[in-house]
């Protein structure tokens, strides 16, 4: 009786050891994964819980703060809309055609991700500045990009549109070309085929890309700073506050900005996954 119990215990210990040994890859990867997860999570959590509700409320009462956050949100939205209008057709074209130089174009699209954003802003200034050809063309329509809201938008489009284009391209590539071909034999024009077959089938990728583009736009700083530091978007307001008054002063503002972004982002992600299930 006693010996059998002992045997049982020894067996279960060996079993546990074997369990660990057999899963050593999973366990190692789990531990390594936890490190990076905590690395991301802890700073975010610290910022989120560093300010009291009262401080956050007083920030909201500040019209400069409200205006800058609102400016960030809607310029990022407009940037995303611009990205959709010009990026989706390009994405579709790239997904459907093979031609010499295609890889070059695909690499070119990703360059804005690679270059320092300050450099991107300066590059834009050299085209859309008042004395440069892009600036002159738009000046005729009364649009200026320097220290004006359109400047914020083009800076955002430049640095974040690659996310949308790549995602949309992938979405279109996943749409079976034969579905489009069948649609044509059924009497649909190329336009009808695109809007009724290709676009609806790629919509999730396009939506996912739009979320990424919007998120990347609202967090943009460097490129916007070069073109339009005033009116300030939220990240620039934080930067100014940090320079003038120090870290304690901007902390509530940072928290507020983060909450705003997270709420919108999480909301969009939920919509995205709802679409996935349907």
């Amino acid at each position: 009786m006693v010996s059998s119990e002992r045997l049982k215990k020894r067996y279960s210990l060996r079993d546990a050891l074997r369990w660990i040994v057999q899963r050593r890859l999973t366990l190692t990867f789990f531990l390594l994964g936890m490190v990076i997860l905590l690395f991301i999570f802890i700073p975010l959590a610290k910022i989120l819980f560093s300010s009291g509700a009262g401080e956050l409320w007083s920030q909201l009462l500040d019209s400069d703060v409200r205006n800058s956050i609102w400016l960030s949100v809607y310029t990022a939205l407009i940037a995303t809309a611009v990205g959709l209008i010009f990026g989706v057709p390009l994405a579709y074209f790239l997904a459907r055609h093979e031609f010499p130089g295609k890889r070059v174009i695909e690499s070119l699209i990703e360059v804005p991700i690679v270059v320092p954003h300050i450099a991107a802003g300066i590059a834009l200034l050299f085209v859309f500045g008042k004395l440069h050809f892009g600036g002159k063309i738009f000046d005729a329509f009364g649009i200026s990009f320097v220290q004006e809201i359109p400047g914020i938008i083009i800076a955002m489009v430049f640095v974040s549109v690659p996310f949308l284009i790549n995602s949309a391209k992938q979405g279109f590539e996943e749409v079976d070309v034969r579905l489009e071909k069948v649609a044509r034999t059924l009497g649909a024009s190329p336009w009808q085929t695109f809007f009724r077959i290709s676009l609806p089938l790629a919509r999730r990728s396009i939506f996912g890309g739009s979320i990424m583009m919007w998120a990347r736009s609202i967090s943009e700083f460097g490129a916007v700073l070069v073109l339009t530091s005033s009116p300030p978007i939220a990240s620039i307001l934080v930067y100014r506050g940090l320079e003038m008054y120090g870290i304690d002063y901007v902390l509530p503002l940072v928290t507020l900005l983060m909450i705003t972004c997270l709420v919108i982002f999480v909301f969009l992600r939920i919509l995205y996954y709802r679409g996935k299930r349907a």
């Binding site: 071909k181 034999t185 009497g187 024009s189």
Partner: protein, 348 residues
Amino acid sequence: MIGIKGLTVDLGDFILKGADLRVEKGEYFIILGPTGAGKTVLLEAIAGLHPVRSGEIWMGGKDITKLEPEKRGIGFVYQDYALFPHLSVKDNILFGLKRRKHTKKETAEALEWLVGLLQIKHLLERKPGTLSGGEAQKVSLARALSTNPEVVFLDEPLSALDPEQRERVQRELRDIQRRLGQTFVHVTHDFEEAVALGDRIAVLGEGRIVQVGTPEEVFRQPNSEFVARFAMTRNIYSGEVRDDSSRGTVMDIGGVEVEVITELRGSLHASLRPEDILLSREALVSSARNSLVGTITKVEDRGPTINVTVSTPVDFVCLVTRRSLEELGLVEGDEVHVAFKASAVHIF
């Protein structure tokens, strides 16, 4: 009714050069070719979905070579049916109907007719992802028929089905085609499917249309080694055909001389269908028969029939029924006589 003249199309692995083909109205036309022969691309080219290098495509007396695919009146059923995954079965079928100027009543009637024809009423509200292969196939055919096309193209429509469904769907396809008098052009790599369904067969291989004819013609008189191999004639030989003073026309097939009936002379191919060979224990004496002695080297069980390979030493694959195999008690290593008529040897 639908025809191609001198059509040149890049088929991927091959280039189809200057192909001519004519499909008559109401015909069940088969394009037979091995996998990778570019059969799908050929159909797409005729439907205007793949660029044509040169040549003409005619339909009902009109040159449609440059016409947009949506105006050609060709219904298309793809191998995996290509149903629109985001639309219900109903909306898949209505897709083409909505592109036309029909009244609501006409559209509803057309839908009802198609649903009745293919018996898919219970599927209407389902999404394509939930359908079985056979169901998806029916929906795809209903969709292709919805626009009242001049001709329906079917790209390997049976290959995604399991064997039991295949036979049934094959019958249904034939039945629907007959009932509607609808012109079908059906592409397959399966010879038996081609024979079972086709009024006529075009054999496509190595970038050209090798032979066009009724199944019987293609089956009995393959015009090339390619077609013969494809027709699953298991016995194909090459050799010299010459006149022999005592036996008439003979062909030397690797050391063995057989009597043949042909006007052709010289280095040629011969095909002999396995079912045309008679196996026996004793020599059969008959002036019309080739009779050879050999050893059984292989017995392949094919279910109801059995392939017996006899080495004389030239190999002959013979088809025998299970019953005659048992009656003769044939096993590997046995010595047997093979006999066949001179007229059974097809020379090409």
